[in-house]
Structures are given as structure tokens and as C-alpha cells.
């Protein structure tokens, strides 16, 4: 939510009128005043990549990293305090400090994870956490999914081909994998479900069971020690009109070990071979490389082993010794912070490991995988061709969904939707479930634009969306049944792109009505990266206006005041262009008893007669693709884009193809640029 108040009144003593002039240096997009003027025709990109302070892993990055390194879910981390937001994102390095509360929770999370991984203390049972067999159930709605949505009774609906999966630690042993599933029948064959280990199918079953009596499918597999990705995937999606075959998954279970032929009994020990000394050394080395995201020295391993020895000297177990080692790793600043070595104030190329971390946290919000670490170890990641190949590989990986959840959801304020409320008397259609649907719709469209490598312009012009029955009813568009989402063609409707979706329209409205000013301001800030100058002081608000006037007329009266007009003359038309959509995104031709007037014009003479017109106008602006680039750079670097960076950012955007570029095109340009590949040191 933005709080820049359009209406301000101050005591005259609070400011000196002679100093109050708002600096207007430039006539920017639509002829609005901007605070910075850059001549993009002639500017020369700065060679200074800027300085980025050490990032602390934010909450999402911490959880993802721990999961990827240790194969366990750090439950304690879910109660970490939210990270502070600056420049619209929660991964801004300067803001990622360590408050005492967070430190307390780091300690608790480290203990929890260490104990789960090592199995040396008794908390939740872990697979292989003892010699006896156990059953671990992973509820489908609680683990990762590549597609689908929550269905009734705790099932997950895989509505297109995709997978529910999770990572878990196993011993070298035989296990049983089990899943509870049913299908919605459609087409000529039954749904095919596949149990997978590390992405490969180990068992495929035809599922004829329906919702009334779900079936159990299961398979026995031999697994080798370590973190395994286990899952259930849906292989044969079918959709023809209203006939829709889906696979519903209740849970996935890991049962075992069924046989124990292990050299060392139970816990973390079962993940390695050799005697205790060898085993503790191997495990420490293997984890530490991942935790530090770089190659490590013998000396570093030995230091950690001294902690292991503390426990052994106390007469404690192997597992307890390893638990302390892991606990210390998770408290190390070399895990919690992404620290890039400093070399005075010089500008230098990042080394391979630093680059691997930047890439991984940018595209995946998590720690580098084996392939990145291996390439870095070989010193090859800094090779431009190989780097681009890696970016393409990473973008194709399901982990790139982090860009939707973390980048786009913040950029488009989808996270803020949680806090939206509506007057129930005015909006009886509105409920929290619908809010979730709105968010899902926009996330799915963005995911599709990302996955299908579509052009940025489609963000505003896409002729498709995803709807379920509730959204279809809200939009007055047919074609979606039930709670599940299906892709709907929007040709011939009033809707196209994100700005006609309920998520945007709702997030920028007030509880009782639309707010054209909020919508306009949002478009300026999030899509055009133009920050309206702050309202000048001593501005009288919307007082003494004719209460029977339309909102548009009231705002026009407001703009009669030149002090207000300076920014409202752009902000307001942008917002009023979407007045055909009410405060929860329903189409309307009247606002109360007054007809909606969706026409408008800007100070530079450009105008529009409908929101479709306005969308075309927006997309045609260089600021549109420039702005997305700027947001991506901000998120990718974890720092604000400064005036000195803007020339390069504009160039990256243009080189990538401006509004015709895809996200991948842009990300390739960004990751190849000096901004991303170099750093300037601090004194």
C-alpha cells in the first residue's frame, strides 16, 4: 500500500513557503514531471557496477537453502520475522539486518534442522533416523507442486501435467513410496499417475478410482543415502470443453527403511561409509561446501570437526556430534550472508562462486545446485557462453517459479492482497477465497508468460487468462467450472492482461470504492517507474466540493489547484481509464447512477477512449519495458537502481528487444551485464 497522500494540509509554520516549489526538471512520459532527467538518446552507460553490501539470506531464501542442502523443512524458519521492504522488494541487501529476535530464531532453527538431519536428538522422526522403520507422510498441499491448486479434503489437484514433490533424507536402504490419489474421468483413458524419485519414474499406475473412494498406489525402491526428491506426477492431461481429466493427490508417504543393511546404524551415519572418523569428515566436507556455496579447505573442515569432537569427548553419540557441526554451519555468517570478497575500492569481476550465488538467488531464490557449484569449481561459469547456457537451464527448471512467487508477486503487489478487505454490504461476492483466486489467476498468467517465453507486452495485452468458476462469475465470462482453474481465451471480451485482472483492480481500490488515484499511481510507479513528486505542503484537500459530483468531476476540481495538478494530471487519467472495473474487478458501465467515462488525455496531448486504447498506449512507451528491467535489476542485485544506473538499464532493455523481449531475453542481458558480473569494493 502506498501512503503518499493526495490530500495534505499543514500548519503554516511547518514549512517555509519560499522553499516549497516542487522541482520540475523534465517533462517525462505523458508529459508528467519527473524528478530526474536523463537524455536516453545520448547518455553513456556507467562502467561502475555499484556497490552491494553483504546480503543476509531473507526468509524465503533461508528456507529454500536449508531445504535444498539438507532435505528437511525448517519449521522454525516459518516464524522468522518478515524482512523489511525497500524499493518494493524484501531482498534488499542494505535492509537485511539481524535483529535480536531473528538471531534467537536462527539459533532455534539451526538446532531444529541439525537435529532432524543428524537424527541425534529425538524430535520429529526422520527417515533413517533410527534402525526401526517409520512412515513419513507428506500432505500434497503442504509440499511443492509444479502445477495445480488445492482441492477439497486436503487433496491437491494436478490439473495439467505436473508433479507434487518434496525432498527428504534417506538412508541407503529399501523403501516403499505410497500415494493416495483419485482422478476426474474424461476422455478415453484413465489418469496415469507416476511415482518418481529424483525426477525419474519408478512406477506408473492407471487411476480409475474417483473422488468417492481414492486409491493407494505404491512402489518399493532401493535408495542410496542422501537427499532425495520424491514425488507423484500426472502424465496424461486431457481437456475438451468441460470434459477435464485431472489427478488429485492426497499425500505421499515414505515407508522405511524396509531392510537395514547399513554399515552404521541409523541417522546421518547411514549416509556415508567408512569408520566414524572418515564418515564425520566426509559428511562435514560435503555439507560445508553446499553451506558455504564454494570449495572449502581442509583447515575449515578440521575446525568444524573440533566441534564434533566436543560432543564425542562428552561421551555423546556420533549423531550428536554431527548435529553440533550442522548447527554451527547454520549459524555461520558465511551461510547466513552472501559475502563477496573485498578488494579496496577497485572494480573487479566476480569470481565463479560469487557469480553462482548471485545467479541462483536471483532466479531460484535458493542456494546454487551441484551443476552450478561444479562449473564454478572448474572456473567455467564466468565464461559468457556457458553463463548464458546456465541461465537458460535455470529458467527452464521448476525452481524458476521463484521469480513468480518472489519477484512478480512483490512487483505487482500480489502479496499485499492478503490484507485487502471489502465492505460486505457493497460487495457481497467478495470473500477471502476469492482473493486467493485473484492472486492465483495473475500468478498463473505470469508463470505462463515466463514459461512460454512470451513477450513482455503480453503482460498488459495477453488474450488469455486462467479462471475458475468464481472468477468466471465475477468477470461474467463463461468457460470455467468448479474450483479448478482452466485457461480461457479472452478474445472478444473486455479483458486483456494484468491491468484488467481482479488482483490489480482490487489491490488498488478502497474498501468501499475504486481509487483511480491509487490505480494511476500504481501504474506510474510499478509499470513506468515514474515516481510522482511528493505532494506540496499547504495543499487544501477535497473540501467544499459538490457532493453530488462524480468522483471524476471532484478530481477535476481538485486538479484546478495547480499545486495538485502537477502530478494528478497524469495519475488521474491513468486511473480513470480503468473505471469500467469496480473495486473487486467487476465490469460496470455505471458508477452508481452516473455513467462511467473511460476517456482521458495527458498533458502531452496523447489521449485514449477506452482502457484497451490506454493499454496499447502504455505498452508502446519505452518506459514500460525499461521499468520491468529496472525492477528485475533491483530484485536481481538486491539494491535500488540509482540515477547512474539508468542509462545502462535502458540500454539493456532496448538490447533485449524492449516490449517484444521475453523475461528470459531480459534476464540474459542483465546477467551478462557489468552490473551483475562485477562489483565495486568498499574502502
Amino acid at each position: 500500500m502506498n501512503l503518499q497522500c493526495s490530500v495534505l494540509k499543514r500548519n503554516s509554520r511547518s514549512s517555509d513557503a519560499s522553499d516549497d516549489a516542487v522541482p520540475i526538471k523534465d517533462e517525462g512520459v505523458f508529459g508528467d514531471p519527473t524528478q530526474e532527467s536523463i537524455d536516453y538518446e545520448t547518455c553513456v552507460p556507467s562502467e561502475d557496477p555499484g556497490s552491494v553490501v553483504a546480503h543476509r539470506l531473507n526468509k524465503v531464501e533461508y528456507i529454500n537453502s536449508v531445504r535444498d542442502i539438507f532435505g528437511v523443512e525448517p519449521e522454525t524458519a516459518k516464524s522468522f520475522p518478515p524482512d523489511d521492504i525497500g524499493h518494493g522488494f524484501d531482498n534488499i541487501a542494505e535492509l537485511l539486518s539481524v535483529a535480536p529476535l531473528l538471531m534467537e530464531k536462527y539459533a532455534a532453527a539451526a538446532e531444529e534442522v541439525a537435529s532432524k538431519v543428524a537424527g541425534g536428538t529425538s524430535t520429529a522422526p526422520t527417515p533413517g533416523g533410527g534402525s526401526s522403520s517409520s512412515t513419513i507422510r507428506f500432505e500434497a498441499e503442504g509440499i511443492s507442486q509444479t502445477t495445480g491448486g488445492a482441492a477439497n479434503n486436503g487433496f491437491w489437484n494436478l490439473w495439467s501435467e505436473g508433479e507434487v514433490y518434496t525432498f527428504t533424507n534417506v538412508a541407503t536402504a529399501r523403501y516403499k513410496l505410497r500415494a493416495r490419489v483419485y482422478q476426474s474421468a474424461a476422455g478415453s483413458e484413465a489418469a496415469r499417475a507416476q511415482i518418481t524419485v529424483d525426477g525419474a519414474g519408478v512406477h506408473t499406475a492407471s487411476v480409475t478410482a474417483g473422488q468417492a473412494s481414492p486409491a493407494i498406489i505404491e512402489a518399493e525402491v532401493n535408495l542410496t543415502a542422501g537427499s532425495k526428491r520424491i514425488g507423484v506426477s500426472f502424465l496424461n492431461d486431457y481437456l475438451d470443453g468441460n470434459s477435464d481429466r485431472n489427478l488429485y493427490v492426497d499425500y505421499l508417504e515414505l515407508v522405511g527403511p524396509l531392510t537395514t543393511n547399513l554399515q552404521l546404524a541409523g541417522g546421518i551415519a547411514s549416509q556415508c561409509s567408512g569408520g566414524e572418523d572418515q564418515c564425520s569428515r566426509d559428511l562435514t566436507a560435503s555439507y560445508l561446501r553446499k553451506v558455504y556455496r564454494r570449495s572449502i579447505s581442509e583447515e575449515e573442515i578440521n575446525e568444524y570437526l573440533s566441534l564434533y569432537q566436543v560432543a564425542r569427548d562428552e561421551g555423546d553419540t556420533f549423531e550428536q556430534g554431527m548435529a553440533i557441526v550442522i548447527e554451527a554451519m547454520l549459524m555461520s555468517p558465511q551461510f547466513l550472508f552472501r559475502i563477496e570478497a573485498n578488494d579496496g575500492t577497485a572494480i573487479r569481476e566476480l569470481d565463479d562462486f560469487e557469480l553462482a550465488s548471485r545467479l541462483s538467488y536471483f532466479l531460484w531464490s535458493t542456494t546454487p545446485d551441484e551443476e552450478l557449484l561444479n562449473l564454478a569449481e572448474e572456473g567455467r561459469l564466468t565464461d559468457p557462453t556457458l553463463l548464458a547456457d546456465q541461465v537458460r537451464r535455470m529458467m527452464a527448471n521448476p525452481k524458476a517459479g521463484a521469480l513468480v512467487k518472489n519477484f512478480a508477486a512483490q512487483w505487482l503487489n500480489l502479496r499485499g492482497l492478503d490484507q485487502v478487505d471489502r465492505d460486505p454490504e457493497l460487495f457481497s461476492d467478495f470473500n477471502k477465497q476469492l482473493l486467493g483466486d485473484m492472486r492465483q489467476e495473475t500468478e498463473k498468467v505470469i508463470a505462463t508468460i515466463l514459461n512460454e517465453d512470451r513477450a513482455l507486452r503480453e503482460l498488459l495485452l495477453a488474450d488469455f487468462t486462467y479462471m475458475n468458476q468464481s472468477l468466471a462469475a465475477l468477470y461474467g465470462i463463461s468457460g470455467a467450472q468448479g474450483a479448478e482453474f482452466s485457461r480461457v481465451n479472452l478474445g472478444g471480451s473486455n479483458r486483456q492482461g494484468l491491468l484488467t485482472q481482479a488482483a490489480f483492480l482490487t489491490a488498488t481500490s478502497n474498501p468501499t470504492r475504486t481509487s483511480p488515484v491509487k490505480r494511476g499511481k500504481w501504474i506510474m510507479e510499478q509499470l513506468l517507474c515514474t515516481t510522482p513528486p511528493p505532494p506540496p505542503p499547504n495543499v487544501e484537500g477535497l473540501r467544499d466540493v459538490d457532493p453530488n459530483a462524480t468522483l471524476k468531476q471532484q478530481m477535476e476540481a481538485h486538479r484546478a489547484n495547480p499545486a495538485c495538478a502537477s502530478c494528478h494530471k497524469v495519475m488521474d487519467p491513468l486511473g480513470f481509464g480503468f473505471e469500467n472495473f469496480d473495486a473487486i474487478g467487476r465490469w460496470r458501465t455505471n458508477d452508481g447512477s452516473n455513467p462511467v467515462d473511460p476517456t482521458g488525455s495527458f498533458p502531452n496531448g496523447e489521449g485514449f477512449t477506452s482502457h484497451q486504447d490506454l493499454l496499447q498506449l502504455l505498452v508502446s512507451k519505452a518506459e514500460f519495458s525499461h521499468c520491468i528491467t529496472e525492477k528485475l535489476v533491483t530484485y536481481g542485485l538486491g539494491r535500488g537502481v540509482e540515477k547512474e544506473d539508468r542509462c545502462l538499464v535502458r540500454k539493456l532493455s532496448q538490447d533485449a528487444g524492449a516490449e517484444e523481449a521475453s523475461f528470459e531475453d531480459l534476464i540474459l542481458k542483465i546477467t551478462a551485464s557489468d552490473l551483475f558480473r562485477k562489483r565495486r569494493g568498499e574502502p
Binding site: 525497500g86 535492509l95 548447527e327
Partner: protein
């Protein structure tokens, strides 16, 4: 702090998921609620965002015989337990042409720091806040140096206020100039943190665990110190801060204050449905934390500054911030007054509970200071010159309460100096203070 059989806090709350629905204070009464911190002085600060409807909040008369404004009506039975102090200003929050908009960010950012905060989306700079300075003295030896709590979290995206980082609007407590203290808002998490107990551990197990914790922290401290030599100035500042955190944890382990001796009843359910229920539970937990002497310093934000929270439980579906720009509209002002009335009723509830918590020959309220206040006087003008401030409790000393005292634009920080001296905290200058208020 006296200890019974110590229970480790370091456990996962297995089996606690089946909590009873919405237990209020009665079902969370600790088994030993008496005299845990006899004679201890305490400070609680409850922060109001968005200003108030002045007409129904500020008394028209000064002295003891003022007519209680309608928004304060729930304090009728507690008249003798609080002061209404008007005329306190926070000049560091004032508008300047250079800083421009952002009065919400400045309201919360300066409320307890009393310095002009740096206008930036990412380079945040305020100061160590008053509550933290008090905690340096009062917080020694309690399980928690201080608690930072609130009624509204921080998941919204986008900008927060006109070029200021959200850090300013969401926090009033600052551990240092660059590190705000985030608040817990989920009563269940607060409960878990305060009262986490697991199975009984033997003394030997506890001793060994402590040894391991010390070894780990020692290791991490050395690791951090070595790194410090290799980094630039900005990173050094971050790692220095991390080192401070490591030392604080070491201190906790050292003096055993990571172990609570005060047992509670049932935990609250994970996420109570409504905002009002959540606020009530957090206030209950604040009472418990004082009763159990788990902490002596608490800050609580009813909501983030600039919050657009609605209040359906009192029939208000519009957002608070939207309403606060009332532009003189009577309906909006009436709704604002209703919101204020509800907020004050929560304050009344809290101080009433403290008053009825006897401790030695006194009660917790008399030993404490409890502020209800905000950094904006009226949300429509955003001014910071005549802030709404209520002060309850006597801080263990002699103060004549039960009156409305009006000052002529004295800095809010002057009040803090006055409270500090009565709490036994040595503080002669804080931010823009110009002297001791009383």
C-alpha cells in the same frame, strides 16, 4: 529471577497443536503468577497509528476535573491511574521541504528514536530507541531483554510511504540506528517463544546442552571475527552487528536466562480469526510476560503506521488510513472516533489487568509506566505538534495521576527523560530532547 525446576525452552512444541479455542487470560494464568519480579520496574508502550479524531480524544479542560472525552470513556474507572499529556511534539518528524512527504514513516520512525530518520528506501538510519535504552538497564537477567509485539504484520509489497523504507512505518523499536526490531504479531508464536517447554531434561543434559551452545557460539564468534578482516566498510558494519548478536546469545546462555521458570496454561490457537481477538490475546500475553517477569520492557503497535486495517467488529469496513484523511467529513470522523474508542478500551483492559496483578504490597501497574500514544495528532493534517499521549502507572514512585496536563510544544523526548530517571535509567539526552519534562 528465582527458579523452580528449570525447563528447557529449546524444544519443539509437539502435541501443542490441539490447543483450546481462544483461551483468554483466565486459561493462561501461570501456575506461579505471584511476585516473580517483586519491586521490578517495567515499561510498556502502546503505539497508535494514523493519528486520532482530536475532538473526541483530547480533554477540553486541564487539571483533575476535566470531562472525559468520549473516546476515552472506557477509562472512566481508571481515571486516577493515568495522565493525559497534551502539547508534546516530535519535531524530528516535522515536514521539511528537503524530506517532503512521508509523515507516516516519520511518525513511527521517530516515535521512540526522536531523531530525523534518513529518507531512503534502503539506507535506513534512525537511532537506538528509548525502549531499548531502558531495556539496557531493566532487561538484565530477564529471559527477554525486551519484547516487540503488534497487531499487524508486514506482508504488503510496494512502497510504504513516499520514498521511505517500510522499516520506518512498521517498527517503533530500534536495536541500533540501522536495525529495527521486528515485531511478533501471532499470539501463538508469542506464546511459544515465552513459554516453550518440552519434556523434562535432567540437570546433566541441560549442562551438556549449554556446553554445546557455548562451543557453537564460540566457534561462530571466531568465524565472524576472522571474516571481519576481509570485508569492506559496509560489510564490516553488518558483521559487527552480527557479532553483537552472537555475544547477546552467549550472554543468554551464560546466565541461564534462556530457561523460563514460569509455566503457563494452554497456548492460544494458531491464528485467531479476527484482528480484535488477536490484539486481545497479545495484550493477555503481555500481562503474562510481566507477571512471570519474562521481560520488563514491551512495545506494542496496534498496527503499522499508515495502516489501512478495517474494524468490522465495530461495524467499520473502511480502511483506517483512508478514514484518517477525513477532510472534515462527519461520517469519517465519527468512525475514527469509534476506532480510537476501541483502541483506548484495549489500553484500559491492559492497565486494568496490570493493576489487579498484585506484587508484594503493590501491583504491577504502580511499578510500571504504560504509555498509549501516537506520532501523528490528526491523520488529516499529519502534524506532529500536539501528540495524543496517555501515561499510566507510577514507575514505582510518586506521581500525581488523574489529570490532564497541557504543555506548550515540549519535545516528546523530554517525557522519556522523565520516565527514564524514575525507572532508574541514566539518560540525560535522547534525540531532540531539551530537558526533563517532570
Amino acid at each position: 529471577m528465582s527458579k523452580l525446576k528449570p525447563l528447557p525452552r529449546r524444544t519443539f512444541l509437539k502435541g501443542m497443536g490441539t490447543a483450546v479455542a481462544l483461551p483468554l487470560l483466565e486459561s493462561m494464568i501461570p501456575s506461579r503468577s505471584y511476585a516473580q519480579g517483586q519491586g521490578a520496574k517495567r515499561l510498556a508502550i502502546l503505539f497508535l497509528p494514523n493519528g486520532v479524531n482530536r475532538e473526541q480524544f483530547y480533554p477540553g479542560q486541564t487539571g483533575t476535573n476535566y470531562t472525559l472525552p468520549s473516546s476515552l470513556s472506557s477509562l472512566a474507572n481508571l481515571r486516577q491511574d493515568f495522565l493525559f499529556i497534551s502539547g508534546l511534539a516530535n519535531p524530528s518528524a516535522d515536514y521539511t521541504p528537503q524530506d517532503g512527504g512521508g509523515d507516516h514513516a516519520r511518525s513511527a520512525g521517530t516515535f521512540l528514536t526522536n531523531v530525523r530518520v534518513n529518507k531512503s528506501e534502503s539506507n535506513v538510519r534512525a537511532a537506538r530507541s528509548f525502549d531499548q535504552i531502558v531495556a539496557d538497564t531493566l532487561g538484565q537477567g530477564t529471559a527477554f531483554r525486551s519484547l516487540e509485539l503488534g497487531g499487524e504484520g508486514g506482508s504488503s509489497a510496494g512502497g510504504c510511504d513516499s520514498g521511505y523504507s517500510c522499516a520506518y512505518t512498521r517498527n517503533i523499536s530500534w536495536a541500533s540506528a540501522t536495525t529495527p526490531n521486528p515485531k511478533e504479531i501471532n499470539p501463538r508464536l508469542v506464546f511459544d517463544r515465552l513459554f516453550a517447554t518440552g519434556g523434562q531434561a535432567t540437570d546433566e543434559q541441560l549442562a551438556r546442552r549449554r556446553l554445546y551452545q557455548k562451543s557453537i557460539l564460540d566457534f561462530v564468534r571466531n568465524d565472524t571475527q576472522r571474516l571481519l578482516a576481509k570485508v569492506g566498510s559496509a560489510d564490516k558494519q553488518k558483521l559487527d552487528e552480527y557479532l553483537t548478536r552472537v555475544r547477546e546469545l552467549e550472554q543468554r546462555v551464560e546466565n541461564g536466562s534462556d530457561i523460563t521458570s514460569c509455566q503457563s496454561g494452554n497456548p492460544p490457537t494458531n491464528s485467531p480469526a479476527g484482528y480484535d481477538q488477536r490484539v486481545k490475546l497479545v495484550l493477555d500475553l503481555m500481562v503474562l510476560a510481566f507477571q512471570c517477569d519474562l521481560t520488563r520492557v514491551i512495545t506494542f503497535m496496534f498496527a503499522n503506521e499508515g495502516s489501512n486495517q478495517n474494524f468490522p467488529f465495530i461495524g467499520i469496513n473502511e480502511g483506517h488510513h483512508d478514514l484518517s484523511h477525513h477532510a472534515g467529513n462527519g461520517d469519517k470522523k465519527a468512525k475514527l472516533a469509534a476506532i480510537n474508542k476501541w483502541q483506548v478500551s484495549q489500553y484500559a483492559y491492559f492497565i486494568e489487568k496490570l493493576k489487579s496483578s498484585s506484587e508484594g504490597g503493590s501491583n504491577i501497574l504502580d511499578q510500571s509506566f504504560v504509555i498509549l500514544g501516537g506520532g501523528i495528532e490528526d491523520g488529516d493534517t499529519h502534524n506532529h505538534h500536539d501528540l495524543p499521549i496517555l501515561l499510566a502507572g507510577r514507575g514505582g514512585g510518586n506521581i500525581t495521576l488523574g489529570q490532564h496536563i497541557r504543555h506548550q510544544e515540549k519535545p516528546l523526548a523530554n517525557l522519556y527523560l522523565a520516565l527514564a530517571s524514575r525507572l532508574g535509567v541514566n539518560l540525560t539526552k535522547h534525540g531532540d530532547s531539551t530537558g526533563n519534562l517532570f
